[in-house]
Symmetry: C2
Subunit: 243 residues, 2 copies
Amino acid sequence: MDQERLTPLVKALSLRDDISDQERSTILGLAYRPRTFSRGETIVKDHSAPNDSCLILDGYAARAAVMSDGKRQLTAVHVAGDFVDLHALMLRVMDHSVVALSDCHVAFIPHRQLIKITEEQPHLGRLFWLSTVVDAAIHRAWLLCIGRKSPAQHVAHLICELDIRLRAIGAASKDSFPFPITQSELSDMLGLSLVHVNKTLSRLREMGDFTWDGTTVRIVNRDRLVEFSEFDPTYLSLIKTPR
Amino acid sequence: MDQERLTPLVKALSLRDDISDQERSTILGLAYRPRTFSRGETIVKDHSAPNDSCLILDGYAARAAVMSDGKRQLTAVHVAGDFVDLHALMLRVMDHSVVALSDCHVAFIPHRQLIKITEEQPHLGRLFWLSTVVDAAIHRAWLLCIGRKSPAQHVAHLICELDIRLRAIGAASKDSFPFPITQSELSDMLGLSLVHVNKTLSRLREMGDFTWDGTTVRIVNRDRLVEFSEFDPTYLSLIKTPR
DNA sequence: CGGCAAATTGACACATCTCAAAGCCTGTGG
DNA sequence: CCACAGGCTTTGAGATGTGTCAATTTGCCG
């Protein structure tokens, strides 16, 4: 078990507050179970009651909820450093699944150690808390998109969100980032039909503010994307301040 | 300042785990600023950076996000005992507003004391954490509703959610609870136009599984509502278990 | 080259929005 | 007690948006 592999978590937490050396070594000293998932696999099952919480080391994952007839809604996208399943630590029973959008490496960290951190290193515990609160903020932003924005604005908003999150963790270059998903998966994020998403994309292509070939997004005009989608990064809380 | 008025919080936290006598008295000993809001007033402003977090003592509130053209999306409803604005403790800057759906009493609790609780009474701190994680779960349930369920299913789901939450805190009788909002507010929860909501309600009225006169909801056939809306209460985490 | 998943397109049905008007209810002032 | 104003609800009609179905095209991999 390579201890250094939890560095994405240190990096992610450092985005929002300073991490002390002790906190850093606590994190890097956590025992974890590494696992690899291929694109499409389920990482955490709905209704399960996990004894560990998982963290994305690299790749993309998403939270998913499904209906009895198979209709699916994705409720958030997660990237390297995201402590995706911290929710299970408090909820105990999963209210949704976590699925791999791409091949990805995931670390499973036993709850016992996380509870211990809340007891002994409250500041670090608060940063864990923060990460779940940011997830809630992401859900709210998505609710506004799905409820009140046009499909085109919604797609643009999603691209702005990923762009800023990936640049924050150093996983995007100045104007492009990997986004290797299908239009069907995108339709499950947007709450729309596949066909409609396809038509929305072709209209966005005409607007020309970004390109996406199913693999990589290239930002052509970030300002226009931000304005068009009414993207306000406040909800991501990407500000380094004592918490 | 009547210390006893924070009992709704004790009651709410007790739904999900046992509260020790010490924790109980810590909560009841919290200094707070009580305030009254009338229906429609803003309790916490979007983009503000509060130094206290608010808790609903009675009445209904909602989280709200708005677009530049005035379109509004409500992302959750909150009731007595809900520590609505705990999110601000970690986020620091609000990504949404909290508005009063009815006249309501609210307690504002300084962040200083809450941080102290995370330092000195980690179990109580975790229950605060839990309450924000349940909020996230509610957002996910709403995302599934708005993205993939029919408007009628969505309304039915909302009624099931409020029914179970209000019964849990003893604010609903066996088959009815107050729900004093306008169809326009409901449309902002559903992400639909007012006219369409009105037509959806008249179809639901024909189904006859509940009644709502704008003031009070009466459940006529709870089983059918649950089945129709595919309501699964797991997400509310209403299970008393060590956390 | 053939096979398969994904993307694209067109046609048509259905859902939803907007605009506009009418009806209903309640509180207030005369 | 009545008349009225204002907010909310209800209804209808027509314009748009979105879903479904089905066929075709594209791109990749063996």
